[in-house]
């Protein structure tokens, strides 16, 4: 019984958003326009839950002296540093919050991102082996495109960049398209199951 209200909210909001796409008339337009902003506000407000959880997890680690608890204060201090300076000094440029973001958070993000340069190499080394003819095709197309990506490819044979463009725009497009159309069917069916409350396990049980 307690699920009826949430499920009807799901149904109504879902239907409004679907209708909003097809119906430019009031009141659908007004409701749809606003709902788009509302649900983002609600989802954003939840960030406080996450922040509390993060603090809780690390304070608990320290209290119970769990594995690696010595690093937990680092997380807590890091969070507090950003949170407090953000509240006090605001987010404008050249203030402590912005300074820490630009010189600590952003470089760390860029560094984690750049780890991929190493990981693509190790993944390619391990995975691209001609173990069967399908794997051989995968390997060959990757190889040709890699060559076509850099000027050296064109120096070896001037048709290689053309082969790259062909691979990217014909077989690659075909593959992507099949994935996209198939996924769209999956999305329609999943959304439908959500909107009509056929799938409701995400609402949890009967606590």
């Amino acid at each position: 019984m307690r699920l009826i209200l949430p499920l009807s909210i799901t149904f109504v909001t879902g239907m409004i958003m679907v209708l909003h796409f097809f119906v430019p008339h009031q009141p659908i337009k007004f409701l749809g326009d606003n709902l788009q902003e509302w649900y983002m506000i609600v989802a954003s407000a939840a960030i406080f839950l996450g922040a509390l959880n993060l603090m809780h997890v690390h304070f608990r680690k320290i209290k119970l002296k769990l594995k690696n608890w010595k690093y937990s204060p680092v997380t807590i201090i890091g969070f507090m540093l950003m949170f407090v300076t953000g509240l006090i000094y605001g987010v404008t440029a050249a203030r402590p919050f912005d300074f820490m973001f630009m010189n600590m958070v952003a470089p760390m993000g860029a560094t984690m991102f750049s780890l991929l340069a190493f990981f693509v190499a190790s993944a390619a080394f391990r995975a691209f082996r001609a173990s069967n003819w399908r794997a051989t095709l995968l390997l060959t197309s990757a190889f040709i495109v890699m060559l076509g990506q850099v000027p050296i490819g064109a120096m070896i044979w001037d048709k290689i960049p053309l082969a790259k463009v062909w691979l990217m725009s014909i077989p690659n497009t075909a593959g992507q398209r099949a994935v996209m159309i198939g996924a769209a069917m999956g999305v329609v069916s999943t959304s439908l199951r959500m909107i009509f409350g056929i799938e409701r396990s995400y609402l949890g049980g009967t606590d």
């Binding site: 340069a117 390619a124 391990r126 990506q149 850099v150």
Partner: protein, 286 residues
Amino acid sequence: MASILEKLEKILEKLGNMDRRIIFILIALSVIIPLTLNLIFPNPVGAEPSRDMYEYVDALPSGSDVLLSFDYDPSTMPELQPMAIALVTHLMRKDINVVGMALWPQGASLGQEVMSSVADSLGKVQYEDWCNLGYKTGGGIMIVRLGSSMNAVFPTDRDNLSWDEIPMLEYISDLTSFDLIITLSAGDPGIPAWVMMAGDRFGVPVGGGCTAVSAPQFYAYLQTGQMVGMLGGLKGAADYETLVGIQDGQAVKGMAPQSIAHLVIMSFIIIGNLAYFTQKKKGGRG
């Protein structure tokens, strides 16, 4: 003779199971060494989406209005900032009015950096030839609002100058006032939002640049004509630099470490396969 072959097989076998940290070191070296030596490789441009992009922009008459959206942040600067510089240079050289904005919070200041430095070097005037509307949250939904009124979404530009005080914006009422929208997109919101909302809904031509990682999925948009052209990754940026005639741009410079790193990875793939086949042969014999 046989012993040499056997030795070779053993070496290959070892190489096949090589610690991935050796790969990591070689990748690092293949980037650091060319950077230290400041190598520059030539960069030929074929019939690629980057050329389509260049030709579309080149065909715009002077005085056209282009909306340039900086939808990235510092983490993808290495790829997208050179594109921004090359595009802005091309647009401004052609006397096209550039209106900048951003779907990513830090994109606005990155865009400002590019537009103001290129404008200074070409003698362009802010608010007459270019302006920066700044960042607005909301992604695709905000773009839909831009389709009905730009002014309502951006009452002021990035520096809080009101819309009406910016002479070049007199021409602009909504998205359809633009002859082209270019998005430099590092992820979400980015190209899909612009294509879906501005392109598909309001019929404004959309072109863009993106990181090489997301480029493959946008080939589908190019094929359907939902995008007029695209710069993919550093190669796309280097292509555009070459086409515009920027001799020693960031991207062109980056192509040397790129080439060497690619060769290193390709040699690893070859070694891996050789090792795989020797092992398989052995397995078959035993």
